[in-house]
Amino acid sequence: MKNIINVAQLAKRFGTTDVLNGIDLTIQEGEVFGFIGHNGAGKSTFINMLTGIINKSSGSFEIIGTSDQQLDDVKAKIGVMPDISNLYDHMKGIQFLRYMGKLAGDTRTKQDYIALMKDIGLEGAEKKKIKAYSFGMKKKISIAQALLGNPSLIILDEPTSGLDPESAINIRKLIVDLQQQGKTILLTSHNLDEIDKISDRVGILSDGKVKKLGTPDELKNNTSSELSVAIRTNPTLTSQKLAELSANWDFNVQFVTTKKKYVVVNVPHDNDIAKLSKELIHSGFQLFELRMEQQSLEDVFINSK
């Protein structure tokens, strides 16, 4: 499978701030690649450079076999869903899609556009101005315009954020459908569960660099050599109490997070789990449940910061 995006030492500096600091990345044809990172990590900056919205400071990239110097030559093959605040609010929905379609070289008729609006769940909103659309409707029309002109690479910046669960599921289905049609998809999201479910590979961006890269399973398995344990006790164990108690223990316990009534901790070795349960009971806690916790992408993300 050939690479559809090749990025080498790509960097972006705004004033004296390095937002991206030498990104190296390849994305293969036909894969769904998920990009995650905290706010300000540089996800949007990266996408904006790939799509020609902002200029690079240094480095290079190749997209659909064309160098960044000739990006104009492949724009018709790239569908981009930028932030929804970039829409022409004064236009009617159908008018907006037809205009974007013409710019993308789409040859649909007016009836085809009406059918497209129905397909994306905007039936009846064709003649409404976009400024009167709800947040979810704006998201949908923003995604629809990215698909005009039958692009082979689709770049979606947080396509499901702020959507109701049903709409988000529909968009995830759409992404899977697009992949089955042979399209390559690069998406960013704050929804780590979503990225985990639909991405073939994931990149975690932090401090202007790709800190981790691999399939969701690879990342979850390789994140730490420590064992994660979820514990449910009465009274509920707090991080403060754990720190107090563990100061006197002869093994290391690291608090990770709390999940509902559970406390998640990391321990270095198998036999530390037995020691942990013994110490908790010895300290007066009733131990209701103790189970091995599988790493989630969220854990990987938190550990990569």
């Binding site: 930028p82 829409l87 710019l103």
Partner: protein, 247 residues
């Protein structure tokens, strides 16, 4: 499917045409532009009717060596010379910077080259003025019975300059409220400075004499082509700035 044709000619047509067409049609939709069209049409009709009803004035002007056509087009030419910048600023001061402010430019640049956005918008606005002035000249032609081609061309060349200048200002000044304010200041001051510079020998007026269009409007001659050259220079600088800018 790769058709082998350049991407800017997708589907056998230049995609810049769609930017151009939208700019052209949108120009007719604003109240400001409708008022300007009505104003120019009214002035053309009234001035032509006045001279038609006063043939003695035309004969007197003709006998003193004035070109017959000029007396009919004098009113519209004078209005464009004095208020051309103001009118173009009123309609198009935010032609580039509004797209940047609203961030809709991000949608455009992901689909078409930046130079096509700038040139497409420019041609769209130019076409608007070509049509608007044409309406006035058609009225003049119907009343006077003569097609005043050179006067029309001269007016369009002046507007070519004015539109490229306004587009350049809209490219370098990113706030549309500021270009609206600048538009009022420049729309009033440029004709005054330009006309004074034509007749002034002061050293500080020399740049205005050669950079502003008024010096080249005295006669319908090849010197008018300098307007075209300066206008193209403004466009090229605007394209270079747009290509280098983070949007």
């Amino acid at each position: 499917m790769d058709t082998g044709e350049p991407e800017e000619f997708r589907g056998g047509e230049c995609i810049m045409v769609h930017i151009l067409w939208r700019e052209f049609t949108d120009s007719f939709k604003s109240i400001r532009s409708i008022l300007i069209i009505l104003f120019l049409t009214f002035i053309s009709y009234q001035s032509a009717s006045f001279f038609e009803n006063n043939p003695g004035l035309v004969e007197e002007f003709f006998s003193t060596g004035g070109a017959e056509s000029s007396i009919y087009t004098a009113a519209i030419s004078l209005i464009v010379l004095m208020f051309g910048f103001l009118f173009v600023f009123a309609i198009s001061h935010d032609i580039i910077n509004k797209e940047i402010e609203m961030r809709t430019i991000r949608l455009l640049v992901t689909k078409i080259p930046r130079w096509q956005i700038v040139i497409g918008k420019f041609i769209g606005i130019l076409l608007f003025w070509v049509v608007t002035i044409l309406i006035s000249y058609v009225i003049l032609t119907v009343i006077s019975g003569t097609w005043h081609f050179l006067d029309y061309l001269q007016t369009i060349l002046f507007l070519f300059y004015a539109i490229s200048f306004v587009l350049f200002i809209s490219t370098i000044v990113l706030k549309s409220k500021l270009t609206m304010f600048l538009g009022i200041i420049l729309g009033i001051s440029l004709p005054i400075v330009g006309l004074v510079s034509v007749f002034s020998d002061k050293w500080y007026m020399i740049p205005f004499k050669y950079l502003l269009p008024y010096n080249y409007m005295e006669n319908a001659s090849f010197s008018m082509l300098i307007l075209l050259i300066i206008g193209i220079a403004y466009l090229l600088i605007s394209v270079v700035i747009m290509r280098r800018r983070d949007l």
